[in-house]
């Protein structure tokens, strides 16, 4: 559905997207992750045709974005991070307007707007003004506005920022259903659990490049080492951390604070005795050891050195 080949974008002297190559298959749910300033938004803007790319090519359903922007825009639905709705108009009026902007005509636009209100679970609030809605309800209408023309590719840029758990759950379920009905989804979020819930494949971007891509399970195993051991200690010195790094099976050691050490290991269970032994040698008191399965959060931390929400 989407193919990006060596796409580059510069703003002045600064190269913000450095040769990104990605492929998203038809019907797939794909997660695009990266810290702030990684180049995600520029990449999404280029796919939507908002920002022209300098080199490479982006194709949506076989059409080049730079050459056939209006054809492609008919196939894409975009859910922006901002709530891009008119607050003084009703939900139905907003949906009707966006439907018309996507080329729907009178009765067709109205029928679709009513259907979409059902889809996002706000059928009974259609006549109410957007400004009277909660944050979560606004987000749901914000998503609805991108669904009116039945897009083949839905691009969602942080669609759940600042909303309550109930609305988040509703949005995730809606997106999952749309994906199961065959809609291709590209999803960016700071919430790893959302990406893990929705997406089978992800790409991680940092400093304008894709630094890892593949299925979430495969990446967790390949890059994070399998497990994570979290040590809560009293005053760990550099000698203790050095000895941990030398242990067989340890992929990486990160110590965000003196009392906290993260070990990325192949088999966490087998390492416990060795760690306790080294602590005893170095006179370091261990308060707690936690064994955690590697997930996207640990993968992201390992890859970028930053938490996703930093």
């Amino acid at each position: 559905m989407l193919t990006m080949t060596q796409v580059k974008k510069c703003y002045g002297d600064q190269e913000v997207v450095k040769g990104v190559t990605l492929h998203v298959g038809r019907g797939e749910a794909f997660g695009l992750l990266g810290p702030n300033g990684a180049g995600k938004s520029t990449t999404i803007s280029m796919i939507c045709g908002l920002v022209p790319y300098d080199e490479g090519d982006i194709q949506v359903d076989g059409l080049s974005v730079n050459r056939s922007p209006y054809e492609i825009k008919k196939k894409i639905g975009v859910v922006p991070q901002d709530i891009a709705l008119y607050p003084t108009l009703s939900a139905l009026d907003n949906l009707l307007f966006w439907g018309k902007m996507y080329g729907l005509k009178g009765a067709e636009a109205k029928n679709r707007a009513l259907e979409v209100l059902e889809t996002v679970g706000l059928a009974e609030r259609g006549k109410d003004r957007i400004e009277t809605f909660s944050g979560g309800m606004k987000r749901r209408i914000n998503i609805g506005a991108a669904l009116l023309h039945r897009p083949e590719l839905l691009i969602m840029d942080e669609p759940t920022v600042g909303i309550d758990p109930q609305s988040r759950h509703h949005i995730l379920e809606t997106v999952k259903n749309l994906n199961e009905q065959g809609m291709t989804i590209i999803y960016t979020s700071h919430y790893m659990e959302e990406v893990e819930f929705l997406c089978k494949r992800i790409a991680i971007m940092d400093h304008g490049q894709v630094i890892a891509s593949g299925s979430t399970q495969e990446l967790c195993k390949r890059l994070a080492g399998g497990n994570q051991l979290l040590l809560d200690v009293e005053e760990a010195g550099p000698a203790f951390v050095d000895k941990l790094k030398q242990l067989e099976g340890v992929e990486k050691v990160v110590s965000p604070q003196q009392s906290e050490i993260h070990l990325y290991v192949k088999q966490g269970q087998d390492m416990m005795a060795s760690i306790v032994s080294i602590a005893s040698e170095e006179a370091v008191k261990i308060r707690q050891i936690k064994l955690k399965e590697a997930d996207l959060e640990t993968l992201f931390l390992q890859m970028t050195g930053r938490s996703l929400r930093d």
Binding site: Y70, K73, K74, I76, I83, F97, W98, M101, G103
Partner: protein, 381 residues
């Protein structure tokens, strides 16, 4: 085309579903028209009273008094010196205008021929002084004309001056007869205020309407619009059309309401349509230019209101331009409001579209400049 219409209808709906729009669009201009229309109205009680002492008592000073009497918003009470002082003491007049003895000779010798006394801190004194100076300049011109005429006709110039006065009265008489025969409604103070405040409040409403551009940009709506299959030209046309129609509806309602409520006759409908259309293009262009130069709605309100109110003052929206100094009358040529008022005045006085080509062309030039600035600076992201 459907997308242009969709944007246009949406913006119109947004404007007309806001109750505050009606206050700004209709209530305020009607209120200002009523207020200012009566302030500068024909009623004696709303006029400025001045005591007039004619020490000269000649045919020339009487003619000068007649000339002053043409200003309908100032009334004169001819009294002697003591009577004038009594009127000032009783605060029944705003000042004393004295025509000095030997009025004509003084004028000829370029020495002050009149004096004006007023209480300290009088707010009307500067305007009255301006008015009297204009009348004196006009009398000066007559003397110069009489002196030139006298040199050709071998008569003394006072005789020629007297002839000039009589000729002027005859011409004025003919003009009045002509107006009555043609049944043309004259440009009165209410029609002046109606035109002036309609122009000003259409500009203010347009300022808020074009604020939709800033709002759409800041809310991410422009970016979202660009992800739809609409072209930038369609989006721009949609907005421009909506602003124009909002202004058109407002102006039409104001014309209707001032006709019904205040009896204002706006004149030739075709001329009115052309003039309003040109003015609206100019106002839409100005609104868009401001909206694309500033970054926030607050900046737009501050800059826009300052610009509209100051140019309205300069352009003669609040008061007739003939009471302001000459240099300000020249500045007025560079603001659209003065040309629009000029056009409306001509229409009210019976002109047709062909007679108001000058104001139309000047307003069209303003429109082209403003629209060029506005359209060339539109940034959708």
């Amino acid at each position: 085309m459907r997308r242009i219409v969709a944007i246009c209808l949406l913006e119109i709906k947004r404007t007309f579903t806001r109750p505050s729009s009606y206050i700004l669009m209709l209530a305020m201009p009607l209120m200002f028209t009523l207020l200012f229309g009566n302030l500068f109205g024909n009623q004696a009680e709303s006029a400025i009273h001045v005591a007039l002492v004619d020490e000269d008592g000649s045919v020339f000073s009487k003619n000068f008094i007649d000339q002053l009497g043409n200003q309908t918003y100032v009334t004169y009470e001819v009294v002697d010196g003591k009577g004038a002082e009594e009127l000032i003491r009783l605060q029944e007049v705003q000042g004393i205008l004295t025509i000095k003895n030997g009025f004509l000779g003084l004028l000829e010798n370029k020495t002050p021929a009149i004096s004006f006394q007023h209480p300290p801190g009088s707010t009307t004194a500067p305007m009255l002084e301006q008015l009297f100076n204009q009348a004196i300049r006009s009398a000066d011109l007559r003397i110069a004309a009489a002196q030139i005429g006298a040199s050709y006709e071998s008569k003394d110039w006072e005789t020629v001056y007297e002839q000039l006065i009589h000729a002027d009265e005859e011409i004025r008489g003919i003009s009045e007869i002509y107006s009555n025969d043609a049944k043309v409604e004259s440009w009165n103070k209410m029609s002046y205020s109606s035109a002036g405040f309609s122009i000003m409040f259409v500009m203010i409403v347009m300022l808020f309407a074009t604020g939709a551009l800033i709002e759409a940009r800041n809310m991410g709506i422009w970016s979202r619009l660009l992800t739809t299959p609409a072209t930038r030209i369609q989006l721009t046309l949609g907005y421009v059309l909506s602003f124009f129609l909002i202004g058109f509806v407002q102006f039409s309602l104001l014309i209707l309401l001032t006709s019904v409520l205040f009896g204002v006759q706006w004149g030739d409908p075709v001329g009115l349509l052309v003039l309003v259309t040109t003015l609206l293009l100019c106002v839409v262009g100005l609104g868009m230019a401001i909206a694309t130069i500033v970054k926030t709605s607050e900046q737009q309100s501050a800059v826009g209101m300052l610009l509209i109110i100051s140019t309205s003052m300069l352009g003669g929206v609040y008061w007739p331009l003939n009471i302001v100094p000459e240099f300000m009358q020249k500045i007025a040529n560079f603001v659209p409001q003065s040309w629009a008022i000029e056009g409306f005045k001509s229409l009210v006085d019976g002109a047709t579209v062909g007679d108001i080509m000058m104001p139309i062309l000047v307003l069209l030039s303003f429109a082209i400049v403003f629209l060029f600035i506005g359209l060339s600076r539109v940034r959708y992201q």
